[in-house]
Amino acid sequence: MHETVIRTRALTRHFKTLRAVGGLSIEVPRGTIFGFLGPNGSGKTTTIRMLLGILAPTSGQAEVLGFDVGRDSYEIRRRCGALLEHPGVYERLSAEDNLEFYGRVAGLPISDRRERIKQVLQSLGLWDRRTDAAGRWSRGMKQKLAVARAILHRPEVIFLDEPTSGLDPVAAAGLREELAALVQREGITVFLTTHNLSEAEKLCSKVAVIHNGKLLAQGTPNEIRATTGSKAASLEDAFLTLVTAEQHQ
């Protein structure tokens, strides 16, 4: 039986009168790539912010690695990595300096830090450009650097908020391959938000569908197809069926 690393119960967040996330209950097993699917503005980023403890829930509960997001958010951030809506790289600094800073923040000892920076930059094909200012890089390279930063301190869970958004198809496919390889190599649990259904179908062993802050379905991609009650050909068809049905209610 899989251990659950992320568990939410009726997690809710309001911004004044707007309900961004309402009564969300999900479970993410260890060692999986969990796809959190939904259209733009459906509450995916808000959920990640709550799970990382940088946004307080209005009500409900959430645990990551057994730590409560309200009480123990520092412990969660210590054990997790994140690539959020923007790559968040310091563009005036070199790639190496970006990782050096986050390595220091993570408390990696100097010898391990240097070795680990070299390891992650090499594994993502960025080592040769490590002294370039990150601001001169393409969007795809910055995304890769952000992935390198997210896994630098060997986290147990990483949160990836639409990591291939804004990338051209070739760069997106390359990053997807790198991600799949990283998960295999590092044994990390990945919480991946996306509105790219083919991406989710390729990468994720379990998915949840959210719309207007409300959970519509969760399970394996096959289970999601089955819940729609149609012989949908793809996850995308199942997703559209779920979202359209919810809009009509």
Partner: protein, 245 residues
């Protein structure tokens, strides 16, 4: 937490000092202009730079604007460049971010002021080489550096507070520049509007006999104000309570 504060200072200094988004020529030009302006000022005041107490604070006025420029960028800059959320999602503590940003601005500008005092002293000595080596009175240097430190700390705390609540660096800089100018003019107006008796008392407080006691009292007062500002900034900056991104 000390290691995280040091990491924060390292990152801030590296971003300020090794800005790669401006050309080297541009930076060289700005530095050269600042050095020339300062050298002309010292040349104009001559010996008084060393022996007249108030003139030792001359570099401090120039550096007030440096503190504002550095500190306005602290949170508003991170927000503008979309790096704040990633920073908040890391394991760095709230206090380490806050104290790291304040310390980097204070130490950078305070260090610059120290260098300017040394540079000014060398210039005066070169101009008056026939009079032997001139040095600042020790207690004057200590009080100048202490006041400059406390003033930098005050501006940094207020600056961080403003930067937290503004969405762009430009907005934060404008609010701080206008705010401190209003504060300066208000203090000036208040001092000239005082009754004659009070002004006489104030003048007496700054005579040589009473100066140290006045400086000590003023130093304690500014230190308390700094502590209050620091506590206010600390209460404001709690990542889970505010939607800081």
């Amino acid at each position: 937490m000390i290691d995280q504060i040091r990491a924060m200072i390292w990152k801030e200094w590296k971003e300020v000092l090794l800005q790669r988004d401006r050309s080297g020529t541009d930076r060289l030009l700005r530095t050269t202009v600042a050095v020339i302006v300062f050298a002309i000022l010292v040349w104009r005041v001559g010996m008084a730079f060393v022996d007249r107490p108030s003139l030792l604070l001359m570099p401090a006025f120039i550096l007030v604007f440096c503190v504002i420029a550095v500190v306005a960028d602290s949170f508003a800059g991170e927000r503008e460049r979309h790096t704040l959320e990633t920073l908040l999602a890391s394991r760095i503590s709230d206090d380490a971010i806050l104290f790291g940003k304040i310390a980097s601005a204070v130490l950078l500008v305070w260090g610059l002021m120290f260098l300017m005092l040394i540079a000014g002293l060398i210039e005066v000595n070169l101009m008056r080489s026939a009079d032997g080596i001139l040095i600042f009175p020790v207690h004057r240097v200590i009080s100048t550096l202490a006041f400059a430190f406390l003033a930098c700390l005050f501006i940094s705390c207020v600056g961080v507070f403003v930067s937290l609540h503004t969405s762009t660096v430009r907005q934060a800089t404008q609010v701080l520049n206008i705010g401190f100018m209003v504060l300066g003019f208000a203090a000036l107006y208040a001092s000239i509007s005082l009754p004659q008796e009070w002004r006489t008392r104030l003048a007496q407080a700054f005579t040589t006999d009473n100066l140290m006691r006045t400086e000590f009292s003023a130093g304690i007062l500014i230190f308390i104000i700094d502590l209050v500002c620091l506590a206010a900034a600390r209460l404001t900056f709690r990542r889970h309570k505010w939607n800081l991104v």
